[in-house]
Symmetry: C2
Subunit: 268 residues, 2 copies
Amino acid sequence: MKKNERISIITKVLSDHPSKVFSYSYFTDLLEVGKSSVCEDVAIVKSAIEMSGSGCVETYSGASGGVVYHPMVTKTEEEAILKEIAEMLQEPSRKIQGGFLYYSDILSNPRYSKNIGRIIASKYGDKDIEYVITTETKGIPAALETAHYLNVPMGIIRRSNRVTEGATTSVNYISGSSNKIKTMYLSRRIDLTHKKVLIIDDFMKGGGTAKGMANLMEEVGAEVMGICVIFVTRFPFEKLVDHFKPLIWMDDEDTEGTGIGVSLYSES
Amino acid sequence: MKKNERISIITKVLSDHPSKVFSYSYFTDLLEVGKSSVCEDVAIVKSAIEMSGSGCVETYSGASGGVVYHPMVTKTEEEAILKEIAEMLQEPSRKIQGGFLYYSDILSNPRYSKNIGRIIASKYGDKDIEYVITTETKGIPAALETAHYLNVPMGIIRRSNRVTEGATTSVNYISGSSNKIKTMYLSRRIDLTHKKVLIIDDFMKGGGTAKGMANLMEEVGAEVMGICVIFVTRFPFEKLVDHFKPLIWMDDEDTEGTGIGVSLYSES
């Protein structure tokens, strides 16, 4: 195999498995060349990936040395991705009776969910996240992609008790949209004791669901490292959770006929 | 930028966007080199990717020429991936009261859902699929990844009527596990008229859900190009749908205490 081809293969392996450490011997076996050639090839891949702004490649030397690709999103790229989504949200046809916005198509489209996952993973890449947790249904694609980029499993909290989840831990929460008390369930087969968890949800108004998820994490002994919510309404100003990262603010979700203002979150 | 770095970047772009056609001018702009250099670089990437068995790279020449990466899974890799999942399913701790098996953790883990998506996309890559459709909840990750590899959107059928989906089209179906008549809902904002659709579900016993999904697709004017189900029980032999591709057969899901036989699907 030629050097050029080795570089292509190393790029593909690293890019397909973000946040996963590969030993140099993995590549010497795969490519059937010596370690010094692999080291040279990896240096070129590192230079190319970092030049393109799509992430960084870390290398560890020594006997247990290895190489890992961490995807990153530049501020400019993040803004462009979120702006495109925010603009789609402003299409008048997205308004639903009751002051809601239709956005299931956006979050279910791999094109957008992958980019959202990359943005979220980029924000929490230094937090040693061990598990990504979401509540069904619309946030699942973005949570899955975040978990992929962080190289950790994803767990789904259910809104009803399903026989296929086995025994569950449940908490009650106040659903903002209906102002009713509801229950959420997590399979007890997902062991989150002492695990560092990132909570992802698609939408926040009052923060009731996010608070329920945080309570459920406390109940199962997990450590919440962050709460990231894709769409957050500006009103009410006071949310039931204090610390969360919104990706896109919705200025006015409730008033029909006045147009829906959607603005990007500015980290300030 | 050096040739080696260009090859790394072309590999990353193609690999990150399977089934998407990139024009040569996209790469000449990105890499700031002439078309002849890009053509040479693409030929090397094509050779490397095809040698590694992870897919094929097609090039189109002429003024509107371009390049596209189609992921593929070799029979050997497919068997290894499915065998690993089948072996996990045989862990005695996965048994749930009522003869069910716990597998949510497997399908929610990006490591497995990506591989499953790659396998399914590989099977339907030549069918000009325009939309991937699944029913919430457990099949969503595999459906999303399939849609990613086929470069098409994914749509989620809901098991209850949600205000955030707007107006819906609904059909009734018989749920195999409870033998009750239930209803499934698809947002009318997903326009599937004359669209070629691939149906993906996580589990089939009697086939009631799959039949409901097929009926719903007929109702909205879509053309069902295939039904792919990840886990299918051998019993009952007769399913309510005739044509479907299972990935993994479950030999005996209902008999408690006798051990659960899980076997791989053999295409013949």
